[in-house]
């Protein structure tokens, strides 16, 4: 059955073998039914495919079935023509990481599912008959209130990642080159214990843009993951259906830059909206943590300036001014190097590659794996497994930090 499922999901067999860390010959024996799928691989395979383990071990169907009857829901959606095999391979890698992140939380006994209550409470606070944009705004108000992010009326870009992860949501920011995928949201982890996973593509993106992408995907996680196994957003702006996109975008914008934050910035910096220039826009971006386009759209909608000026303001290039004002305008590597609280090794050693696809592991996750080892909660081999790298690579990169007495 596995062979049929992989074909229907458009997943390359050899890549899957490498991703699972099993020899190609052995994997092909499983696919061809020459030997049974061993128990040791079932849970990981099930987590990656999003398919229950008992279905994986079913014998192949004799009758020719349509792909829609075979491909797991998440993979059926990922067959979208704009997504390339490399994109699907990357999603599989993200799902594998989600499987191990869940294990790490369990081992460290800091697994939380706060998102369940929060998301339910946000959905309840929203008027389901209202237009999508209104629903998104209502949800944003509730989200800011319940996570404590509404205090201070300043930009929340530096706090959203921590807040989202504290809810138990997995957040991954990693470069995915030559892909149309800008962000996506799906459930990952073990069957019955799965959690939402928000992914933002950092390739060619800015931190300010990614704040919007992350919150947009979180909007999908709140509203749409119950009915759809995955939501995909493309660089060209197209995504899921119009309703869900409008709601997620309104949520992102109002969560990041509600009228109160614009008011605060206006007063603090004495902004004269009728005569913006690159320096002022950069100042606004640096303090609100939002990209230029969304910032100006929000300000225009709240009536800070006439709509005719929107296009002109959006075309102003303020990258030079922004770089002088905010470290977040730097590349991720350069930014991390400047942060005294972040060890250099995190900035340099977080990339992992499996089966030819590369993934940047979340810094906090890498740190937690090392802590878990040093606290005796996981073995050396498990630490390597969780970091999706072999032991040699782990020793090379983190050997000096692995200090548990053995």
């Amino acid at each position: 059955m596995l062979k049929q499922i992989l074909e229907a999901a458009r997943l390359d067999e050899d890549y899957c073998a490498r991703l699972l860390g099993v020899p190609l010959s052995e994997f092909h024996e499983w696919l061809d039914g020459k030997s049974a799928l061993p128990r040791f691989i079932l849970s990981e395979l099930s987590a990656i495919l999003g398919h229950p383990t008992d279905k994986l071990v079913e014998p192949p169907r004799k009758a020719r079935l349509d792909d829609s009857a075979l491909a797991p829901a998440v993979w059926f959606k990922l067959r979208e023509p704009r997504l390339k095999p490399e994109d699907r391979a990357f999603v599989a890698l993200v799902r594998k990481l989600g499987f191990y992140m869940d294990q790490l939380q369990t081992v460290r006994q800091n697994a939380t599912r706060q998102f369940e209550l929060l998301f339910a409470s946000i959905r309840q606070s929203v008027d389901g008959s209202a237009p999508p944009t209104v629903q998104g705004r209502q949800a944003a108000v509730e989200f800011r209130k319940q996570t404590g992010l509404s205090k201070g009326q300043t930009g929340i870009g530096e706090d959203i990642r921590r807040s989202i992860r504290n809810l138990g949501v997995i957040l991954i920011e990693s470069p995915l080159s030559h892909s149309q995928l800008e962000g996506c949201c799906m459930r990952v982890g073990r069957d019955g214990r799965d959690v939402p996973c928000v992914f933002a593509n950092t390739y060619g993106s800015t931190w300010f843009r990614r704040n919007v992408v992350i919150m947009h995907e979180l909007g999908h996680a709140i509203f749409d993951l119950g009915t759809s196994p995955v939501t995909i957003d493309y660089l060209d702006g197209a995504g899921n259906d119009e309703f869900t996109e409008a709601r997620a975008q309104a949520f992102a914008r109002d969560a990041l830059i509600p009228a109160s934050v614009l008011n605060h910035a206006t007063n603090k910096w004495g902004i004269r909206w009728a005569s913006l220039n690159p320096a002022i826009i950069a100042q606004l971006m640096a303090s609100t943590h939002v990209e230029q386009r969304i910032l100006l759209e929000a300000a225009c909608e709240h009536g800070y300036f006439q709509e005719e000026k929107l296009e002109y303001y959006q075309k102003l290039n303020c990258s030079g001014e922004l770089a002088a004002l905010s470290d977040h305008a730097l590349t991720t590597e350069a930014y991390l190097r400047r942060q005294p609280s972040i060890p250099l090794w995190i900035a340099q050693n977080r990339n992992t590659a499996l089966g030819g696809r590369s993934l940047r592991l979340p810094a906090g996750y890498v740190g937690q794996v090392i802590l878990a080892f040093n606290d005796g909660e996981i073995s050396r081999g498990k630490a390597a497994e969780m970091l999706l790298m072999d032991r040699e690579t782990m020793e090379e990169r983190f050997g000096s930090l692995l200090t548990m007495a053995e």
């Binding site: 061993p38 909660e377 050396r380 081999g381 548990m404």
Partner: protein, 248 residues
């Protein structure tokens, strides 16, 4: 799982099997099996990991054939349902399921795939494990009150080979050099000294009571106090076997 004379099966984890095969000690395992009636075994996950670890780009690459050979000539047995059925008849199926269930629990409790399923089988079948990673045993001890004893290391097998005259001191030193070159962890006593020079500080956890004892008499390292395993030759005549030559 063995008769009163001692266990008949010793499981090997990937961390110990890779260097053993890389250094050409497949024959040593075979000699121990024929002289002492001890079968070395691996779980499927370890077989899979080892096959990968012996392939490029890994540091133990180049000895893929040794694993295939060891399994085909029964030097190593794969401890799976087929094997357990052959040994325990009908009970084999439920034992196999139990091994897997224990393995899965340990996998989610902080052991890697190979370790988890090896210790899962070891706890179910009550047989010792050869594992180079003490952190796995430490983790297991936090998880379970009782663990299989003694805890064997790669060097217990090699020094046992020396004591049993299945290996020469030179062969042991060659192994030490090969592993040093690969930056493998060695026991403290062999890090800066040859096997001959460091032997007096090495407490070997695997021993043949019919042969003159070598190594330290008293515990030296953590887990030495978990005891040592005595293997007695099944046939005294076989003691005359010449030392094996790694790589052959």
């Amino acid at each position: 799982m063995g008769p009163s004379g001692g266990p008949k099966l010793i499981l090997i984890d990937t961390s110990a099997l890779l260097p053993l095969l890389y250094c050409g000690h497949g024959q040593l395992l075979r000699s121990i099996e024929s002289r002492y009636g001890i079968q070395f075994g691996v779980v499927q996950a370890v077989k899979s990991e080892t096959q990968n670890g012996l392939s490029p780009p890994h540091k133990f690459a180049g000895r893929q054939e040794s694993l295939r050979k060891a399994i085909s000539n029964k030097t190593l047995t794969v401890v799976d349902e087929v094997y357990l059925r052959s040994k325990f008849d009908r009970v084999g199926e439920s034992l196999s399921r139990q091994c897997d269930e224990e393995g899965e629990k340990l996998f989610y409790a902080g052991l890697d795939r190979g370790e988890a399923y090896t210790y899962g089988a070891s706890l179910t079948l009550s047989c010792p494990v050869v594992n180079e990673d003490a952190s796995a045993l430490k983790r297991l001890l936090r998880e379970r009150a009782q663990v299989p004893t003694p805890h064997l290391r790669l060097w217990d097998v090699i020094v046992f080979g020396l004591q049993a005259e299945l290996l020469t001191q030179r062969q042991c030193d060659d192994t030490r050099s090969q592993l040093l070159k690969l930056q493998e962890r060695l026991p403290q006593c062999f890090r800066d000294r040859s096997v001959g020079d460091g032997l007096s500080s090495f407490y070997c956890r695997l021993t043949d009571p019919t042969k003159p004892q070598i190594g330290a008499d008293a515990n030296q390292e953590t887990f030495d106090d978990f005891g040592r395993l005595e293997l007695t030759p099944i046939d005294a005549e076989l003691n005359a076997l010449p030392p094996v030559h790694p790589g052959t």
